[in-house]
Amino acid sequence: MKYLYYPGCSLEGTAIEYNRSTQALMKLFGVDLLELEGWNCCGASAAESISYLLSMVLPARNLAIAEKAVKDMDIKNEILVPCSACYLNLKKVEIKIRSQPELLKKINTVLNEEELHLHGNIKVRHLLDVIITDFGPEAILPRVKRKFKDFLIAPYYGCQCLRPYIIFDDPEAPRSMEPLIEAVGAKVFDWAMGGKCCGASLMNTKKEVGMELTTAILKQAKGADAIITVCPMCQMNLDAYQNNISKRCGENIRISVLYLPQLLGLAMGLSKKQVGLDLNLTVTQEVKAIFNHYC
């Protein structure tokens, strides 16, 4: 099976381990990820803060070349996106142009500069959606080589794979990762922060406020062994400032923040190196011990 794949800028930089583990996991499912040739930055949170049209055109360029690519390669009309921010930016264009022909026309006027044309027949899919909908625990269970018993995992979904478009999970009380966590023998940590905001780009523009949000999430995660995420921005915000936050709030809030495909991949027999575990900024001694014990 083949999927067209849009890694996005983070997965080439700060989130290489997400890229690596996603590719390795999909291989275990018998899937080849074909990277979209010539893809560009989706605009992140920058384009929408500067120009609406640009925030439409940047994702649209990717969709236009993706439409061509799926045709040429004769694969299904879908593009798989692991980063939630990229996912939403691309999804927005997919959905808006369906009901706004004027917008589509304007986008195409710009794309014409590169002799590209968007028709609007490609479906944007988040990695989590693909994992739970196209594979799910049924596909994972028979492939599990290691059961992480007593491993307590807090599933963290963040915002942009859940809202505003309701595609594959409850946008207020998401649960889609739970059967996956259970499939690898681990336990789900019961908390209410799974769909709360990590501060996203406020971490760059209004750091003090962003820190408040991550602090609240990390405090609530106390008691869990690890947090599992499906977004590079969430992972970075929750992972990178833990020393600072521990100092600020006078308690140790350090916790490992892993990507979902890292956890699933390890359980399905991949090595720590194959899922890029050495690349996460924080992997606590406790979690290292658990993985050393099993892997």
Binding site: E37, I50, R163, K206
Partner: protein, 188 residues
């Protein structure tokens, strides 16, 4: 009320007009405010900000930092009983602030324009290049230190590529697209 009327002469093009249109059906129920994770840090709640936009209180709107504190969590958009595109309205205000060079939004605007400059030139973002660009334009010699320790940790993990690596099969410059976008926006 009086000042609101004074500030909105009908014959001047009002940059807030398109945002006002997005918000017209607001019933001031406050669901957005109650849903906003960042309202604790805002000088005006989202509900109040919408009212100010609708009343055309441009100066007050841009004196407020509320829209710059939106982290695009989409809770308000999801929950608004009138189905209004509130996260987009916040973004629209950021866009106006950037265009009108509103002083209180300067550092956020600089951050985003530096980011986009990297995208314009290379099609993708080179984190190192754009941060350098940002710090130079901020003219704030201390700013980089806020990020140094994280930067060093990322470097040690090989997560920041310096110098800009030649991206395989990359898109190259997107200057033509950026130019056309600017041209169309000028027209509208």
């Amino acid at each position: 009320m009086e000042s609101a009327i004074k500030q909105k002469p009908a014959f001047l093009p009002d940059p807030l007009a398109p945002v006002c249109k997005m918000l017209q059906a607001c019933i001031q129920c406050g669901t957005c405010t109650a849903s906003c994770v960042n309202s604790f840090a805002m000088d005006q709640t989202p509900r109040r900000l919408w009212r100010m936009v609708i009343m055309g209180q441009k100066d007050e709107v841009f004196r407020s930092k509320t829209f710059a504190l939106c982290s695009s969590c989409y809770y308000c958009t999801l929950r608004c009983p009138r189905g209004l595109p509130l996260t987009e309205a916040m973004a629209a205000l950021k866009q106006i602030a950037a265009k009108e060079k509103i002083a209180s939004c300067k550092s956020g605007t600089l951050f985003y324009t530096s980011f986009l400059e990297s995208v314009r030139c290379h099609g993708r973002v080179s984190e190192m290049e754009f941060m350098t660009h940002y710090f130079i334009r901020m003219k704030n010699p201390v700013a980089p230190f806020k990020y140094t320790s994280l930067g060093m940790r990322l470097l040690s993990k090989g997560k920041i590529a310096i110098p800009l690596t030649k991206k395989k099969k990359g898109p190259g410059s997107l200057k033509a697209l950026f130019r056309k976008v600017a041209e169309l926006e000028q027209l509208s």
